[in-house]
Symmetry: C2
Subunit: 232 residues, 2 copies
């Protein structure tokens, strides 16, 4: 938010008269990088393009991020932390497991175009999280992003385990079920395009139903009948 405010009020035509905070500039670089990576692809984006987008030279950019890799790890870290915080806010507000689950699965699809680009980036480049980096700064950011992922998985597993113990969902292995839920959700962003023919609402309705069926929520096990093309 603060980065958007800084960008809209601190126009470049004023010649830098507005003193930006370091945090706002950092957020601005992250937003520009997310847009570039999501639109042009991570591999295709040159680090210098991002410097150009935010109007700083490569040397100044280096003050905030050592490299494209470093920047990517921080974007992933923030995205996962956003997911975790939204998840935790609903899980603590809604005491009953089943309405909480429905609310969480609703919230998962309440996404802006930039959120979707970020999800696409996350799943396309998640392989980069598993290989250690030689640079200490990059490696620290990589490990932080991995720790965030574990935090999110732990929160989901604890939630599902509690829902199993109260009988709201059938008993199963909560950690494997967490991986299945997050894996199925993440798989959407490998193919979904914000400007494609399928609306986000249609995708959300389909996947919410299938995730609930996979978890074993009784009301969701039988999909509502639809008429597929060619069916009688």
């Amino acid at each position: 938010m603060s980065s958007n405010q800084a960008r809209s009020s601190g126009s470049r035509t004023t010649g830098g008269s507005r003193v930006r905070t370091e945090g706002a500039k950092r957020a601005e670089i992250l937003a520009a990088a997310t847009d570039r990576f999501g639109r042009d692809g991570y591999e295709q984006t040159r680090w210098a393009d991002i410097a150009g987008d935010v109007g700083v030279g490569p040397t100044a950019l280096y003050h905030y991020f050592e490299s494209k890799h470093h920047c990517l790890y921080v974007i992933i870290d923030q995205a996962i932390e956003d997911f975790r915080a939204r998840f935790a806010a609903i899980a603590t507000t809604e005491a009953e497991p089943e309405p909480a689950l429905l609310a969480i699965l609703g919230d998962c699809f309440d996404l802006s175009v930039r959120d979707i680009q970020r999800n696409r980036l996350l799943v396309a480049e998640q392989g980069l999280l598993s290989t250690p980096r030689a640079s200490p700064r990059e490696e620290q950011a990589r490990q932080a992003a991995r720790a965030r992922t574990r935090d999110l998985e732990f929160a989901w597993a604890a939630f599902l385990s509690n829902a199993m113990q109260t009988g709201a969902i059938p008993a199963n292995d909560p950690r494997l079920l967490t991986r299945a839920v997050l894996g199925l959700y993440n798989s959407i962003w490998h193919w979904y395009r914000p400007d494609g023919i399928l609306s986000l609402d249609a995708v959300a309705e389909f996947y919410r139903g299938r995730i609930l069926a996979m978890i074993g929520v009784p009301t969701a096990t039988a999909p509502r009948p639809q008429t597929p093309a060619g069916a009688a």
Copy 2:
């Protein structure tokens, strides 16, 4: 198969007395690259390492593959074609949709360690499939791998659509359901390690059950009760 035969019978100690066919050498390079990429990571692997593994110089290697990218696309292409051929063999042998589905989901987990490494590589690097390449040879291989993916998705969607029409599974959108099934299956290889604590059998049993529940196969909608840690 032919590459393994060539490797086991044509030992290097014979000083190259055995004349290998181009196809066998190509398959040998692909096998060595799959092992390297799966073990060390695609990004970490140097093209020269693969040349070393199969005992050819970089120039000779270039005769078969223009680059690491080119080689990766061919590995993905072959992996998807293997999946599709195995799928088609079961789907045409077993006329009834439900036993065919069970047989297909059994076959999906009948994997060697190299198959698992190849699956891991496939899902870690699938992002590379979506960005065009400047080199014509690379671009041709990329587009071939993408076409294979579409063939596999089409075969699954046709199978599911037929199963819906015969009433074996509940009606739904067959193309979205295909993406959900393949997305859930692929998600396993992001985290599963052949040398990890979870056996492939345990993972297979869990995911087969959850895929069937997600599809809406009646017998699979209620998971078998298990006692999660801490449950009464």
